[in-house]
């Protein structure tokens, strides 16, 4: 899927005509806009088709879900998901090209990207915060319908000292290994960094396998009252975040093997590690609040 950026050539011809009217010094090229080397640390992007295509793809995805939920045939709309997947590939490819291979990611650009990712993490935190609120709303004052007690009458809670404790150990260990991988990368030791990252991904795969086993053998479902809803919404959302974080770490593993990272500039990896630590902290909150306190 090599989607060429067909827009820049026409747009830049137009821009070069406009540029001729101003008297530029020999600093800048009179030709294409993308030939003009910027004298500021900011990255002025070339015209890109990805945002609008992503919007189209996400629309298709949303419509597919709505049609599926209402029983309407949604076969054609599934291509929205395909478009979204292709846009993710193309956009990420452009991002890697601009940052790693063309060097546009100066200190200022890096700090902007960092701020954006921190805001994204805060938004994810808010998402979990809202579900924890819902849990506390029901758990702190259990209603008459569930027997005025928490856990509600009839719910067989999972024993926290078995699989959940194992999961906690796995996630904390994976946080440690990913941190050590980061330290190896910063120190310059390539092979150890890769090995530790592979170990991290392996540990997270064990976690997902454990959770799947818990889900398959659980005595209650998401439909079992407010306990079931809270439990499966929180752990399910967390599981999706683990899978997303693992795919991010795998992406970083591939890029690390392709030598995209230097010992000081490896923003994608930094962000993946922050995300992983976030996932770990949320699991610890889940473990102590839902599994231990809530049972």
């Amino acid at each position: 899927m090599m989607m060429k950026l067909f827009m820049p050539s026409s747009l830049s011809l137009f821009m070069s005509l406009k540029m001729k009217s101003l008297s530029y010094s020999n600093y800048t090229s009179r030709r294409m806009s993308h030939d003009i080397l910027p004298r500021s640390p900011y990255h002025v992007l070339d015209p890109s088709p990805w945002p609008i295509l992503m919007a189209v793809g996400l629309w298709g995805l949303a419509m597919t879900f709505i049609c599926w939920a209402n029983g309407v045939s949604c076969n054609m709309l599934l291509l929205g998901a395909g478009i979204a997947a292709m846009v993710v590939y193309g956009w990420t490819r452009d991002l890697v090209n601009e940052g790693t291979f063309q060097g546009f990611h100066t200190k200022k650009v890096q700090s902007g990207l960092t701020l954006g990712f921190i805001l994204f993490l805060v938004s994810e935190l808010m998402l979990f915060f809202s579900f924890f609120w819902g849990f506390f709303h029901s758990a702190l004052s259990p209603s008459l319908e569930m027997g005025c007690c928490w856990p509600p009458v009839g719910i067989d809670c999972l024993d926290w000292s078995k699989a959940p404790l194992h999961n906690t150990a796995l996630l904390v260990a994976s946080s440690c290994t990913v941190t050590s991988s980061h330290k190896y990368l910063k120190a310059g030791n390539f092979n150890s960094a890769v090995a530790m990252l592979i170990l991290t991904v392996f540990l997270s795969a064990l976690f997902v396998k454990n959770q799947y086993g818990e889900y398959a053998w659980s005595s209650f479902t998401i439909a079992d009252g407010v306990y079931g809803s809270c439990f499966f919404m929180l752990t399910g959302l967390h599981g999706m975040h683990v899978m997303g974080g693992t795919s991010g770490l795998l992406y970083c593993l591939v890029r690390m093997l392709a030598r995209h990272f230097s010992s000081t500039h490896h923003l994608a990896y930094t962000f993946a590690i922050w995300y992983w630590h976030f996932v770990d902290i949320v699991w610890l909150a889940l473990f102590f609040i839902i599994y231990i306190w809530g049972s």
Binding site: M1, M2, K4, L5, P8, L22, S23, Y24, S25, N26, Y27, T28, S29, R30, H34, D35, I36, L37, P38, R39, S40, P41, H43, D46, M86, Y89, D94, N97, E98, F101, Q102, G103, F104, H105, T106, K107, L185, A187, G188, N189, F190, N191, A193, V254, L257, A258, R259, F261, S262, S263, T264, H265
Partner: protein
């Protein structure tokens, strides 16, 4: 799509370090013939080779604007000229306007009229007559050329074209 992705990945794993000519789908030429570091900057990392099993440091890995920034900082030069210029005493009258350096024939000026002010007065300054801000200070453009910034990359191709 998957096969082309695999091909790209395999190609990049096998290719040598810092092969910047690989992917030029999008914009600026930072490694094409003619674009170099302008002669004003010395590439301190030239000649460093990759050590097997070692992660490259920033000097061995950075390209383009990022590399230019790093090399400028190593030599103590200012890469972006982003610091605010201070108003000198005695300047600002019609006869002695503040000199504003500019590459083009116009530049945006932001006058901090007073240290404690909460607003910055912005206005376009054009080549020619001095312009007065609301606070009374005069500004005048002085056009500068690339010779004033020897560390900026120069496009040799443009120089060749102008001949």
């Amino acid at each position: 799509m998957a096969s082309s992705l695999c091909r790209t990945l395999l190609r990049s794993v096998r290719s040598p370090l810092r092969n910047t000519q690989r992917l030029l789908h999008t914009s600026a030429r930072v490694s094409a013939k003619g674009i170099n570091l302008g002669g004003g900057l010395e590439d301190h990392f030239k000649g460093n080779k990759e050590i097997e099993g070692q992660v490259p440091d920033l000097g061995g890995h950075a390209v383009g604007m990022e590399r230019y920034e790093i090399l400028c900082e190593m030599e103590g030069k200012d890469p972006w000229d982003m610091k605010p210029s201070t108003k000198q005493k005695g300047f600002g009258t019609r006869d002695n306007p503040h000199i504003v350096n500019s590459v083009y024939d116009r530049r945006l000026v932001g006058c901090i009229c007073d240290e404690d002010t909460g607003q910055i007065q912005y206005f376009w300054l054009y080549k020619g007559e001095p312009k007065r801000c609301y606070c009374g200070h005069f500004f005048k453009i002085k056009e500068i050329g690339s010779s004033d910034f020897p560390q900026y990359p120069r496009d040799e191709l443009i120089a060749m074209e102008q001949d």
